[in-house]
Every structure is written in C-alpha cells, then in structure tokens.
C-alpha cells in the first residue's frame, strides 16, 4: 500500500494441489460438504481483486491479548503463556500491510467456550478464546495467549486435534481471503490428525507449524512461537495481461 501504485492486477492462480481438496473422506464432515463439480475458472475481475480494508480504529486495547481480554479485572487466563508473532506475506515475499488477522482457540485444557461444545475439560472463567490484530507496515503481527490444549472430537472413535490456533486473514483483495490453523513445533499429534491430513503435501503441512522462537521470548514472562502466513501474490504490472476472448 505504501509508496506503491494501487494494486490492480489479478492474483497468481491458486495452487490447488497445495491446499486440501474439498473431498477428504478421512475427515468425515467433508463428505457431504464438498462440491463435486469442477470449479469455474474466473481470473480476477474488479470483484475479486478488490477487498475491504479495516482500520486500526476497529481494534480495542486488549484485542491482541487473550490472556486478559476476557478475564475479570486483575485476573488472567490459566495456561502456558506464549507470544505468537510473525509476518503476513504475499507469494512474492513482500509484507502485507494492514491485514486484519483474527484468531481463536481452545483454552489450556482443550475446551472451547461455545454452546455446542461438550468436552468435559473445564471452562476457564477468564478465557474467551478470541483475538485480532492488524499488521504493521512490514506485515508484522503479534499477540499474547496461552498455549491451547489438544482435544478429542467426533470423527473416528479416538481422534484428537493437536494443539492449534485458528487464523482468519484478510489481505487487500477478496480473492486472498484465507482461513487456516497454526500448529506447534514438536507436537506428535499433528501427524495423526485427520484434519491436518486433508493437506496432501508434507511440506505444505510444515508451513502451518509454528517454530519455537527463543529470540522473541519475553524473559521471565512468556515463550514465543513464530508463525508466518502467506497470502496469494499479485501478477506483475510490468506488462499488460492479454485479455482472454470469450
């Protein structure tokens, strides 16, 4: 956005071999929720290359601190204190400025605060489980939270989700809209999770595993994990794209 021309070009084609396919029977819910017909290719028109932009005015003081943003005054969420930080980049490796990043997670015991959640792990009265932030000029973001617990879920008879944080990201174009999940380095549960395994490529899975970042810890307070998120990149404006005939 800064020092650059308006971004008016379409995005790189999405690599659908890198993303999970729609139909992944190991994740049972996908069976009836997966389109079966071929997608219709639509190279970005104005409707896809534009997108909403959100200002810092939507953010509250503690939106990026899940340890306190639902806690009673003077209290805190229970759990291992962590800082999650990283950059939102595009496929060209440029930082994405002004990207709204929303995140949500279970508490330290693996329990979500949700009406439809019935896992017996205890609710933490001081933990809501949601937060958000907007990237700075270089695409950096950070938030404080507690490390979420693993939890069982109804799919196979003994399926567990690895510890994870859900992310929703807005870039500058609606075609960049992305929801994904962050996992934690060293967690053996990652490789046996049916939802993780919807992603066919091991390297793609590794792109979702945040690394322990001891350089970013806050001494005597919290450890840090680094998680970069890559959104689709835009085509070059150096040469006009040829228009396809219909």
């Amino acid at each position: 956005m800064k020092n650059t021309l308006p971004e008016t070009t379409p995005f790189f084609a999405r690599d659908r071999e890198w993303h999970p396919p729609a139909y992944t029977p190991g994740y049972k819910t996908s069976i009836l929720r997966s389109p079966q017909r071929a997608l219709i290719s639509l190279e970005g028109t104005k409707s896809e290359i534009t997108g909403p932009v959100f200002g810092h005015n939507i953010l509250g003081e503690f939106d990026n601190d899940l340890i306190v943003n639902y806690a009673k005054p003077g209290e805190m969420a229970i759990g291992e204190r962590i800082l999650v930080h990283g950059r939102v980049l595009d496929e060209r490796g440029r930082g994405v400025e002004g990207a709204l990043v929303e995140f949500w997670q279970a508490n330290a015991g693996g329990r979500y605060r949700h009406k439809k959640e019935s896992y017996l792990a205890a609710i933490d009265p001081n933990f809501g489980g949601c937060g958000r932030t907007i990237t700075d000029a270089d695409g950096n973001y950070a938030f404080k939270t507690i490390r979420p617990g693993a939890y069982p879920w109804p799919n196979g008879v003994n399926d567990w989700r690895p510890a994870h944080i859900h992310f929703s990201v807005f870039g500058h174009g609606f075609a960049q809209r992305l929801i994904t999940q962050m996992y934690f380095e060293g967690d053996p549960m990652i490789w046996i999770c049916p939802i993780v395994k919807t992603i066919p490529d091991k390297q793609a899975i590794e792109q979702l595993i945040a690394a322990l970042d001891m350089n970013a810890t806050i001494p005597h307070d919290m450890r840090a994990y680094k998680f970069d998120i890559v959104l689709r990149g835009r085509r070059s404006t150096l040469f006009e794209n040829r228009l396809e005939g219909n």
Partner: protein, 205 residues
C-alpha cells in the same frame, strides 16, 4: 537445476471448524465484552447510503439436503454505482457510507443467513464489458477445507444477466440458475447447494 524463482507458497487452508464463530462473531455465541460488536454484523446501510435497499437471505445445504447450521457467510459487493470501497478501486470513489462487506453466521436453529444491503451497480469485466449486478459470496464451515467463492446475480436483471461475461463462461447452461437470487419485492432469496443436482457453481478466482 535452474535458478529458484523464489516465490513463497500460499499458506494451505484448513477448515474453519465448528467454532469459527468464536473468532469471527464472538458476541453471536455469547462471548461478550471482548469486542463491542461482531465485525460485519448488522445492516450494511445507514441513512445516507445510496441505492435500493434489499435483503438477501438463504440457506447453505449439504449433499444430503440438510441446511448447515454452523456456516459463516461473507459477502463483498460494489456500491449502487458499481464502485468498490477498496484501495484497489481505481475507477472512482465508492460511496463512503457503504463498506460493501459483511459477514453473517447461519442461524443456529435454522441455518438461515441474512444481509440487509443495497443492490449493487454494474462493474466492468476485464475487457470493459459490463457484468450484471452481482454479490460475491465466500462460505466457510466445518467440513469445508478451503473457503468457497461464488456469486449471486439477480432474477430481475434478465437482460444484463444474458450479456454477463462470467455467466457466459459456464458451459452447462442448466447450472446458471444456481447463481441467480430470486427477487420478490425487497427480498432476494439465494440458497447455496454444496452438492447434488442443484450444486451451486463455485469459482476458482
């Protein structure tokens, strides 16, 4: 080996899961006090917004014909004159009283979604031909591994729909009606079918 192109790969998608509301519409699921209000909730118009007021409502159905009760739907649309409220909009300035984006969780009991908005103006296709008025939809839910993009056109725009370059690209014309919202007075009904005979056309955008 040739030189590396040095592109990064897009982060792979993962399902929004059953608790997408916690992150995107926390007040809707009773997590109050973190955000004053859910982002993108409520009417998209104010008293000064230009354009014809409409309500868009519908359901998202799975392949068994059951309405999803845990989907999250976002829409993105132009203003009444066909301009997007986005830095990438270079043709003119959009109505400052219309963001053009909203999100709505399906009702927990019925699954119905609802947007109070305006009818968008026409936006040019890449070659300058006008597209018919349309609203872009993005659907995520448990069981959907990568958010689904589609468009809603309007049943009262037959002539514009007939010359729309995107609708023209759909080889199986029998599928075009899956993209047409049915207008009745101020209400436009748009049901989305993830699978089956009525499977909605989804786009790779």
């Amino acid at each position: 080996m040739a030189q590396s192109l040095n592109y990064l790969k897009e982060s792979p998608s993962q399902t929004a899961g059953p608790y997408v509301h916690i992150g995107c519409t926390p007040n809707f699921v009773g997590i109050e006090g973190v955000y004053a209000q859910d982002l993108g909730s409520g009417p998209m118009v104010n008293a000064d917004t230009r354009g014809e007021r409409i309500t868009i409502r519908g359901f998202v159905y799975d392949g068994g014909g059951t309405a999803l009760k845990d989907a999250l739907i976002e829409i993105w649309q132009a203003d009444a004159d066909g301009f997007y409220n986005s830095p990438s909009e270079t043709r003119g300035k959009a109505d400052p009283n219309f963001l053009g984006w909203a999100r709505c969780p399906g009702d927990m009991a019925t699954g119905e979604f609802l947007f109070e908005t305006i009818k968008p103006g026409r936006v040019p296709f890449r070659d300058g031909r006008l597209m018919a008025p349309h609203v872009t939809f993005w659907i995520v839910a448990r069981g959907i591994n990568l958010g689904l993009h589609t468009r809603m056109y309007f049943s009262d725009e037959e002539a514009a729909n007939a010359e729309d370059p995107v609708l023209a690209r759909i080889e199986h014309k029998v599928r075009v009606p899956t993209l047409i919202g049915k207008r009745d007075g101020d209400t436009v009904t748009f049901d989305i079918h993830l699978q089956g005979d009525k499977e909605t056309v989804f786009f790779d955008i």
